[in-house]
């Protein structure tokens, strides 16, 4: 058994750590609140934009409508935008995203290129020897659309250039404080049906969407404007979702760490008390023994 001094030091260090984790928990709690507000504010716009994109994708003759809608006959390269955090200490948040990405895209039949958003993801992808073509790290805490539109532009440009034939997005969907879901979404070319959050206020079109649109001013101009922008918007929304998830994950992780530290301190304290008591008992025995030896003389 360790000496009393060693145990005292150990207790002290665990207490210190629990103070740090508690502070981090508090910080994350306030950040998560802000992030949730941001994510909720833009969610309805992003959902609607996504619906409009889907309706556009359901148009008859979509392949000839716009190059961003056209399905390519042969897929030679895949591009994946992977959204993680810049910092660790968020439980399994970052590694979940990377593990999910690996599971989903490692068996991919064609080469995969990655755009990393977030430092942790970049490092983990590079360590796994992935082909990371761009890195957007150290985004501001509450990014505006302007801050992140470059990511969307880069991805859309790669697609239009023909250097990639599919664009996917991997991010963490914020469901509630206790639940975040790592998700993959296919952005380009637009796909029908599939996943997507069903909002409670979502409106179901009754007549079916088959009828062709009239376009004003003209088809090319309007699709040129909205498809790249709404695609970038999906990435923006994904970043907000991921940030809220990251803060929530960190808060939970830190709370668990604090709880564990408390438990550990309790156990250590008990052991320490026993050791101390044992030492005192030994001392008393020594003294009594010594006194008796003297008296017996």
């Amino acid at each position: 058994m360790a000496s009393a001094r060693e145990m005292r030091l150990r207790i002290k260090s665990v207490k210190n750590i629990s103070q740090v984790t508690r502070a981090l928990e508090t910080v994350s709690a306030s950040k998560v609140r802000k992030a949730i507000n941001a994510v909720m504010a833009t969610r309805s716009y992003a959902t609607k934009a996504w619906q409009v994109l889907k309706h556009v994708a359901e148009q008859p003759g979509r392949d000839s409508l716009h190059p961003l809608l056209a399905k390519r006959n042969s897929v030679n390269n895949t591009l994946v935008v992977v959204i993680t955090g810049d910092r660790g200490l968020a439980g399994a948040y970052n590694s979940n995203v990377i593990r999910f990405t690996a599971q989903r895209f490692d068996p991919n039949p064609v080469p995969v290129k990655y755009i990393a958003v977030g430092r942790k993801g970049r490092d983990l992808l590079i360590r796994r020897r992935k082909n990371v073509i761009a890195d957007f790290s150290n985004l501001p805490a509450a990014p505006t659309f302007m801050d992140v539109s470059a990511i969307g532009r880069l991805a859309v440009d790669e697609f239009l250039k023909g250097s990639v034939d599919e664009l996917y997005l991997v991010y963490t969907d914020f469901i509630n404080m206790g639940r975040q879901l790592t998700t993959v979404k296919k952005l380009l070319p637009l796909e029908l049906g599939g996943e997507g959050r069903v909002e409670e206020f979502e409106h179901k079109s009754t007549d079916g969407p088959a009828a062709a649109y009239e376009y004003e001013p003209d088809q090319r101009e309007i699709l040129d404007e909205i498809i790249p922008r709404f695609t970038a918007l999906q990435i923006y929304q994904a970043i907000l979702e991921s940030q809220a998830s990251e803060h929530a994950a960190r808060m939970i992780a830190m709370r668990n760490a604090t709880d564990n530290a408390k438990e550990l301190v309790g156990a250590l304290q008990l052991a320490y008390n026993k050791v101390r008591q044992q030492a005192i008992t030994n001392d008393i025995l020594d003294i009594v023994g010594g006194a008796e030896a003297l008296a017996a003389k």
Partner: protein, 147 residues
């Protein structure tokens, strides 16, 4: 017979409800949308969206955006949108003056900053215009014959 109308700006849902008619400032001119309208996808100019339900009319300023019309729903994705009733005239005026000053003080033309200021100026002009035209004397007039 009504048509669903949803106006969302980037940071919130501005309006959602079933209405009789929606008038949009489309890129090719004003367009009135009634139920069972043919599907349309249009960009929007800076302007005013009118929404009528029964005898009540609501007005929204919109600073550009996109509108999607389906037979039973109009979805407006506005770059910025506001109920005319919500506009604070004094604040809008102050914003306009700030934008004007900044522009005359000479931000280099063709930079992002210049474009942003110009957009801000256009937006505040639009808001002021909307307030003054549609909210004279506090009450709301029916602006049917105007524009």
């Amino acid at each position: 017979m009504t048509i669903r109308c949803e106006i969302v700006s980037q940071d919130r849902t501005v309006f959602a409800g079933d209405v009789d008619i929606v008038v949009l400032p489309g890129a090719a001119g004003e367009m009135g949308i009634l139920p069972k309208h043919a599907p349309v996808l249009t960009t929007l100019k800076y302007g005013i969206i009118k929404v009528r339900k029964g005898g009540r009319e609501e007005l929204f300023t919109v600073a550009g955006g996109v509108a999607e019309v389906q037979p039973d729903i109009v979805t407006v994705l506005a770059d910025a949108a506001e109920n005319v009733e919500e506009i604070d005239e004094a604040r809008a005026d102050a914003a306009r003056q700030r934008a004007e000053e900044a522009l005359t003080k000479g931000v280099p033309v063709d930079t992002d900053a210049y474009l942003a200021m110009e957009a801000a100026l256009r937006k505040s002009n639009l808001r002021l215009d909307a307030v003054r035209r549609y909210r004279k004397g506090g009450g709301m007039r029916m602006p049917n014959s105007e524009n």
